[in-house]
């Protein structure tokens, strides 16, 4: 496996095609959970955990179950069920074996089932034709990119609380405009030659 090639995948997923700012995946938690830095770290960790796991498991489901059975049209149904079951399993496992981690991530886990970033990463792994290792690396770096955007946003929004914003723009509208400015900054990465 070529390390340079993997590095391209990592940089591409974190910066150039950042999941939130470029691909528009995971916008709901990006706007909803980015009010405090603490909670955005918790959300980011939970997403990274579930996304890497889901990326690997759905890749296996696709290549070892759907393709041999010639049932790729069941992709959407099977992936969403796998993800929903996985989130439940992770939740139960953490509750039993690691109460500290559970209390840190617990409230974010149920939210992740309907986070389109998780489903999105599973679908993109298949569409890009990644191998299992590439898929795992891509899933993890996509989650890192999501966390990065979430953290930056939380940092900005904590400052935004202290600023006088016109009343109609308070809350979500100003958050979207800030996200737009961040997206412009991230577009600068698109010029990188890899």
């Amino acid at each position: 496996m070529d390390v340079g090639h993997l590095l391209v995948i990592v940089l591409g997923a974190v910066f150039i095609h950042n999941f939130v700012l470029n691909r528009f995946l995971g916008i709901c938690p990006f706007i909803g959970v980015s009010k405090k830095i603490d909670s955005s770290i918790g959300m980011g960790m939970a997403v990274a955990f579930v996304m890497t796991l889901a990326g690997g498991v759905t890749w296996c489901v696709h290549h070892f179950l759907l393709v041999p059975l010639n049932a790729t049209f069941l992709q959407t149904v099977s992936f969403i069920l796998v993800i929903a079951a996985l989130v439940q399993l992770v939740e139960m496992f953490l509750q039993k074996n690691s109460p500290t981690l559970y209390s840190a991530l617990g409230i974010y886990l149920p939210l992740i089932t309907t986070n389109c970033a998780v489903m999105g990463v599973a679908l993109l792994n298949i569409r890009e034709g990644y191998s299992l290792i590439e898929a795992l690396i891509f899933s993890f770096s996509a989650a890192v990119g999501f966390t990065l955007a979430l953290l930056l946003m939380a940092g900005i929004r904590e400052r935004l609380e202290l600023v006088q914003v016109p009343r109609a723009f308070r809350g979500a509208p100003i958050a979207f405009i800030v996200a737009g400015l961040m997206a412009i900054a991230f577009m600068g990465f698109a010029g990188m030659k890899l």
């Binding site: 700012l21 470029n22 691909r23 528009f24 995946l25 995971g26 916008i27 709901c28 706007i31 049209f73 069941l74 992709q75 959407t76 149904v77 969403i80 069920l81 929903a84 089932t113 309907t114 986070n115 389109c116 489903m119 999105g120 679908l123 993109l124 569409r127 016109p166 009343r167 109609a168 723009f169 308070r170 979500a172 509208p173 100003i174 958050a175 979207f176 405009i177 996200a179 737009g180 400015l181 997206a183 412009i184 577009m187």
Partner: protein, 218 residues
């Protein structure tokens, strides 16, 4: 219950995108062109309608504990139908929507309506609710896509009907990701302002009525 209100609430007062802030990812992603917006709107409305009908029909049978997985399977089935149909008949739009077509399955509007409305109401009401919400979603998408396509490419391209604004220099940033965020932010602020004005007017009217009542009493 008022049937008309169930239909119209989704379009304005409870518009899923601009007021409830649901289904934002596809809204932002596919609003680069009006045609894509229409395709996405129709697909989502179809899924919403199908899942609302089925869930309203089987709501008495599903045990409360496993209701969410059941809803997800129903929704995923309709998403697959929409996905395969569009792949067969409108391959260009299917290509442009990309992963956002299968991602309708995690669109919070649909699961949200299933849980909040279809699981508690009759089939007729659920159909009206689905149509209203679907129309509201489509209209929000259309508004966003029209602004972005006009400013970003200097014209509209609706297959049969295409035109360019003469001597207009398009701002390409509008069809790139930042344009989506900024436009949606401004649209939401506009909705907030309108809602605020309406509320003010309503309060004023209520106050006037009270005053009149008092005068009559006196």
């Amino acid at each position: 219950m008022n049937a008309g209100r169930e239909f119209t609430k989704g379009i304005w007062t409870e518009n899923p995108v601009l007021r409830l802030m649901l289904g934002l990812c596809p809204t932002l992603a596919v609003s680069t062109a009006v045609v894509n917006g229409i395709g996405m709107g129709i697909a989502a409305t179809f899924v919403l309608l199908g899942s609302n009908i089925v869930i309203a029909l089987i709501r008495g049978v599903i045990p409360a504990k496993v209701r969410i997985p059941c809803y997800i399977v129903v929704i995923a089935t309709f998403v697959t139908i929409a996905d395969l149909t569009m792949h067969a008949y409108t391959p260009q739009i299917h290509e442009a929507l990309g992963i956002f077509l299968p991602l309708i399955v995690v669109n919070c509007i649909i699961l949200g309506r299933a849980e909040a409305f279809a699981s508690k109401n009759s089939v007729t009401m659920s159909v009206l609710d689905a149509l209203g919400m679907g129309l509201g979603f489509t209209l929000a998408l259309l508004a966003l896509a029209t602004v972005r396509e006009l400013l970003g490419t200097g014209g509209l391209d609706l297959r049969a009907l295409a035109f360019q604004i003469p001597r207009f220099k398009p701002a390409i940033i509008m069809i790139l990701p930042p344009g989506a965020f900024v436009t949606l932010g401004i649209m939401m602020a506009g909705m907030n302002k309108l809602a605020e004005l309406q509320e003010k007017k309503r309060l004023q009217r209520a106050a006037e009525e009270k005053l009149e009542e008092k005068q009559e009493e006196a």
